[in-house]
Amino acid sequence: MSEQLPAILLVAPLFGALLIGVASPGDPRRAFPIVLLSLSISLAATVALLTKVVSSGPVDYFLGGWAEPLGIGIQLRVDGINALILVFIALIGLLTAIFSYRGPDDGEPTDKAPLFYILYLLLCVGLLGITITGDAFNVFVLVEIASLTSYGLVAMGSSPRGTLAAFNYIIMGTIGASFYLLGVGYLYMRTGALNMAQIHSLIALPEVAASQTILVAFLLILVGVWIKMAFFPLYGWLPNAYTYCPSGASGILAPLVTKVSVYVMIRVMLSVFGAGWVFQSAGWSQTVVWLAVIAILAGSFIALAQVELKKMLSYLIVAEVGYMVGGAWLANHWGMVGAIYHILADAAMTLCLFLAANIFVKHAGGGRIDRLEGLFRRMPVVAGAFVVGALSMIGVPPTGGFFSKWYLIRGGIEAGQWPFVAALILSSLVNAVLFFRIFEVAHFGRKPADGHHHHPPHADGEPSPEQQGTIGETTGSDRKPRLTAVAPLVAAAALVLLVGIFSGPIVEIIRGALQGMPHVGAAAPLIGR
């Protein structure tokens, strides 16, 4: 049983999705328990796998028992790093599933809900699969499974702008995935292998490592995953998609999709090409760190200009991606540890902020920050969780965000990348300004009394008459957020704190996994200290 864990954690949500399609095509009440059960099985399997990896080292699993020499088996490989990420994916999947108990848009259950759950579970399968697989082509297939379901989830909202955002997401996402596929094609041309470990052992040969084909493959794969993770100049699809998608969808897309793509980049760098090959030329890492600096600053300052809460948070994701890419390309041990730790910390805090923002937006009757007046006093628990997430974004101890900044800055100082260090600190300051502005409006702003529509009219944001009607309704009848929305949010806030408090053991697992990588080779002083 325990040797089948890597398969179980993928198969449970996959069969859950099929079961919903077969058993309850029109009934949300029957679909929800299936979602809950399959994700719980998945979560239990990931936790068991993490304890197994921590106690006895990396786990290799060959699907169907077709072992490596034949070259046709798909390998699943779990080390400490992706075991941690798997636990977070399953946990965040479960929390957001509870949050979207009533279906995609957090309203009355509709006949869309079962379809939403099917896409949701398939997205979880895609994300878990990308993280666990040890096969370069398999990554492409699973990335496309995750992307296709994301397009559907983004388009499922009631806002027409969400549909348009989904279309742009398809165009950009397809370009990204196709570049990745092309890169894998070039790798296959030169090495004749698709298994990551096999490719790596062949790239270790000097005549292969010097080949132009390998260089082209690496650049194509890098551009592909940068589009998928919304790295700064290639971020165009992200803000609208995450702002206008249904609340249940943004709760899983925002914390996980970009982070899993960052993990794909780190995985490709460390276990396919190898740190020695990737960092052989110092000019590259210098250039990418500069790009990351631009990403951090641009993301932070564009966020500062936003008037909509969820769009502001979306631009902060763009900045956070810059943290992780920069950290990974610092080409030293603490930078890599910080980047991997930040995948976890950022997933937790983005989950926390997006769930809270979804509740705020629903109860404020609009996404604009100035509509949030007095909401903190009306919903103290939601406000408390939002503050925890915000403090983590700013980087206040004991939250996870503080420790990831700590390791990233330590890596930046050791590498002598002062612009990166400065960008991290500046971005913390900008985040502080951003969130204290929200705290001010939401906590000290006028409490909305009966005449709470006395905003100065905005040329672009003037609510239409029917929208005003729904505002009156939600503030009147649905004053308190539901327990199924608040409970996952509180758990997410607790997760942000726990990631920070247990940063010691988590970092030890990450460092152990980096040291245990068999292929570190020439880059041993860089990565596996």
């Binding site: 496309e144 027409p160 549909t163 279309f167 398809i170 596929l181 094609g185 996404g367 944001g461 239409s464």
Partner: protein, 147 residues
């Protein structure tokens, strides 16, 4: 002439896929009509499929099937070894890139289907498929659009 012989003719499959890919990418980025963007997307994905198929091609190669009961084929390829188990990869076209492309074709079809469904829903919301008109409608705002 030198250019032709050295770079163009031996690598014509790469040139073909790169040109097709750029045509597709141009359409995806520049075209104003959403359906034309999707046509570009299909060309783009097909170009990559052509690339994979062309790297599996081998001049005068056999299909990758074991000829257990055809002694003359087995003898001509590997005379010394046991004809029932001898496989000389030099004589076979590599099937793997072609098989991978079956998966990529499926992915491409599902992406296109998804994108067409979303375009249909965009048409319902905005009454047009021209990107500039859609953006103008969003800018003006309207019932349900300025969220």
């Amino acid at each position: 002439m030198d250019l032709l012989n050295q770079y163009l003719i031996p690598h014509f499959n790469y040139w073909a896929y790169v040109i097709l890919m750029m045509i597709g990418m141009h359409a995806m980025i520049v075209k104003n009509n959403l359906i034309k963007k999707l046509i570009g997307m299909s060309i783009f994905q097909t170009a990559i499929i052509l690339f994979y198929v062309s790297i599996g091609v081998k001049e005068g190669a056999d299909i990758p099937v074991l000829h257990h009961h055809a002694p003359e084929v087995a003898e001509s390829h590997t005379p010394a070894a046991d004809p029932h188990h001898a496989v000389d990869p030099d004589h076979y076209a590599n099937p793997l890139p072609h098989v991978l492309m079956l998966t990529a074709i499926v992915v491409g079809v599902s992406t296109l289907g998804m994108a067409l469904a979303i375009s249909q829903s965009i048409y319902k919301d905005f009454d047009t498929l021209e990107e500039n008109e859609i953006l103008a409608k969003i800018k003006q705002g309207g019932p349900g659009i300025d969220v």
